[in-house]
Symmetry: C2
Subunit: 233 residues, 2 copies
DNA sequence: TACTATTGTCTCGTGATGTGACAATAGGAA
DNA sequence: TTCCTATTGTCACATCACGAGACAATAGTA
């Protein structure tokens, strides 16, 4: 368990881990042991560790992935987000004496990040304090502690802004995908419907897609081509 | 002087305060008493103070303005930005014993903000530790301590992204202004030249400008109209 | 009264985007 | 086999935003 002398007091990070499956955008939510408390996966920063490195460390522990696409979102520095009761509850449910972890009950500043991962490659693993870590549709989340809804909201906004600018979609899809799958990524992030023909024309004109063989789904209609993003260094 | 028990350890903020005058974008830079060290105005966060409030407090002290347009930029959480020697130098130049302010020599995480103010309304005032606080052209800054160049760079990028989205220009100009002045704001933020006719057409088509009487400059040419942004609540 | 620098506006061409049409398929049904 | 349906790839056309240049109107000067 985190120790007082090992971590920076008053500073935490929270990560909004996005994945995409079917037609919907999902994020990973943890549930703490026997408390019914849901929250974003987060953690503390070691005394001599860059914040970014702390986040990468946390992501590796929870997803098994190295080399995750990560972007900082916002830093929440208000007072209203310290919830000592919830924290106490979590500690007690784990048979830890809150008296030994007083620093965890104090005010925290939260630096939030979002991460983009390929849904298929991940096997979420809970940490010491949590029962489970599971995918939830972004528009069907359980109630979150520590005002984490606000963080999710901000992450979604930032993701939307970066959608075209940073080719976000390439990080959320498997290497090869159909145009329709790509369109679903855009639609689920933007929360709007997109006209098929316009979308296809625009994507192709960007010059970042490579076309491969067709994918036969077994359905009674024309088979779509598979595409991949052109690698460039 | 800041006291150890009063402020959160390891957490600071830095503000990039933008102003616009003539044809160039400027920011406020402080120089510490007799050290030749230049840096962005920044400060610490009180134990029970939201970070945003700490920044507003600092801005009020330095500019005399309440109600400043403020936006968070990025949080710098790396290790490379602690410069205990510079900090020691600043303390000693102020006849303070570094032994009494050891917490100020430790690692800091910096939450950066940018502020937009009307250049004409401000009378910059130095704080306890600084000799001067003065306007510098963004593309002609003195060398800055604490890797503050990086913060300025990031603030400029963010400002550019928000230029059209958040009508940034309205915060940098006096209530009434000419189309050419507005164009200079855009050009100095984007760092590029803009075609006059295209710019004028676009601004007018946005429907956010109100036209007033002409301004006679005394120069031998047609007088431009004055405009203001339409207030809306 | 002529001249100059600047401003407000228009036109034209180009490229991106909205919108609908249409032919080409993959498999199922008759 | 032949027809049928859902989906896909592509095109044509209208519309709109924007780059680029042209031009008349104007404030003060010579």
């Amino acid at each position: 368990m985190p120790n007082e002398t090992e971590y920076l007091k008053h500073i935490a990070y929270d990560s909004v881990i996005f994945g995409f499956s079917g037609t919907s955008l999902k994020i990973l939510i943890m549930e703490y042991h026997g408390t019914g408390i849901f929250a974003l996966p987060g953690g503390f920063v070691r005394i001599d560790e860059p914040i970014d490195a702390a986040v990468v460390r946390g992501l590796r522990e929870r997803t098994g992935l190295d080399d995750i696409y990560l972007e900082q979102c916002h830093t929440f520095g208000g007072l209203e987000r310290s919830q000592p009761e919830a924290m106490r509850q979590i500690l007690e449910a784990n048979d830890l004496d809150p008296q030994d972890y007083l620093w965890m009950l104090e005010r925290f500043i939260s630096v939030s990040y979002y991460a983009l991962i390929n849904y298929e490659e991940v096997n979420p693993t809970p940490d010491a304090l949590s029962d489970s870590i599971e995918w939830y549709d972004v528009d069907n989340l359980p109630p979150l502690a520590f005002m984490h809804e606000e963080i999710v909201e901000k992450a979604l906004l930032t993701l939307r802004e970066n959608l075209e600018k940073k080719l976000v979609s390439s990080k959320l899809l498997p290497r090869q995908f159909t145009m329709k799958e790509l369109q679903h990524v855009y639609e689920s992030i933007l929360g709007t419907e997109i006209r098929r023909t316009t979308f296809q024309r625009k994507m192709l004109s960007l010059g970042v897609l490579e076309r491969h063989e067709k994918r036969y789904s077994g359905k009674a209609h024309k088979a779509p081509y598979l595409y991949s993003f052109i690698e460039r260094e």
